[in-house]
Amino acid sequence: MISIQLNGQKIPLESSSISALLEVLPTTDGIVISINHKVISRSLWQNELLSDGDVVDVFQAIAGG
């Protein structure tokens, strides 16, 4: 069990894998994940491990001008 800062909220995760993170997200379509302000390419998700206290941001493409 670890704790991360996800989009400004402190939340617990079952494990340090990205898949544990994906489980707490409302959607995974068209999202991008950054860990400590470093963008993590989708192809690297399965190798990446989160650490306790990591600042994780998840963004999504939306409509805009």
């Binding site: 996800l6 989009n7 409302p26 379509d29 963008v39 493409a61 409509a63 001008g65």
Partner: protein, 265 residues
């Protein structure tokens, strides 16, 4: 045909996807506009602690992709070069494109683009291999510098974003268009099809329209009107506009036979 960074566009109308009431409307507008490039934004995903399964965003990506529209993510919300570069990197991953509409506006009231930060970010993003289309003031000197650091196009404003005031920067747009060796896309301020047609008559390579379509009472019809205006304006530019003068130039022969009436009396 318009060519930006090796990609061809049959339509010179680019659309923004913001402010539409629902995704279905956006899809219909995109179709009616004939546009082949649409801007997108990024936002932080809303994380609910209750973890409701429903996605918190209506899907607009799928319909746009079905229409074969090239997506152009923007860096809206960035207040400096560092934030914009980060936003571009996020967008590249989210939308799987290295194209970016670079916009940096620290001031939320007028959304004026910060030329200095834009230049710094543009230079860096070009070095990183991005296809950069910076949104800038209608500043001919800055536009030239952005071209020199490798930007794929420049997007000078006609008037403040969403103001619908038309080409208030006309004189400077003319200089930018004259000097540019890269496409010039007039962005922001275009509020009516006539503004778009005028920008095209001046020699702009394309225009980007969002609010004027999205906020119209009939967005689909307005999208069509813009498409026609852009096409007409481009056609006129290519045909070459007739000279402007102060004195009358008769377009009918000045026939003398009518004057004979006076002579008879």
């Amino acid at each position: 045909m318009l060519n930006i960074a090796g990609r061809e566009f049959a339509s010179r109308l680019f659309i923004g996807t913001g402010k539409f009431a629902h995704p279905e409307l956006l899809k219909n507008v995109a179709q009616a506009s004939g546009s082949q490039m649409a801007t997108m934004a990024l936002k932080r995903l809303h994380i609910s602690t209750e973890n409701t399964a429903a996605a918190n965003n209506d899907d607009i990506l799928t319909p746009l992709k079905q229409l074969n529209i090239h997506l152009l993510p923007n860096t809206s919300g960035a207040a400096n070069a560092k934030e914009a570069i980060y936003a571009a990197e996020l967008a590249r991953e989210a939308l799987q494109t290295n194209w970016v509409k670079l916009e940096i506006h620290p001031d939320p009231r007028y959304l004026m683009p910060d030329g200095n930060e834009t230049f710094i970010a543009a230079k860096k993003l070009c070095e990183l291999g991005f296809v950069v289309l910076p949104y800038v003031h209608a500043d001919p000197v800055l536009c030239k510098k952005l071209e020199e650091v490798g930007c794929a196009a420049v997007m000078p404003l006609g008037a403040p974003i969403g103001s619908n005031r038309g080409l208030l920067t006309e004189d400077f747009l003319r200089i930018i268009i004259e000097q540019a060796n890269i496409p010039v896309v007039v962005d922001a301020g275009i509020g009516a099809p006539s503004h778009a047609a005028y920008a095209m008559e001046l020699g702009a390579d394309a225009v980007l329209v969002n609010s004027a379509i999205a906020v119209s009472a009939k967005p689909v019809a307005m999208a069509k009107a813009f498409a026609q205006a852009v096409e007409a304006g481009r056609c006129a530019y290519e045909a070459g506009l007739a000279e402007v003068g102060m004195q009358a130039q008769a377009s009918s022969p000045l026939t003398e036979f009518l004057q004979q009436l006076n002579e008879v009396e």
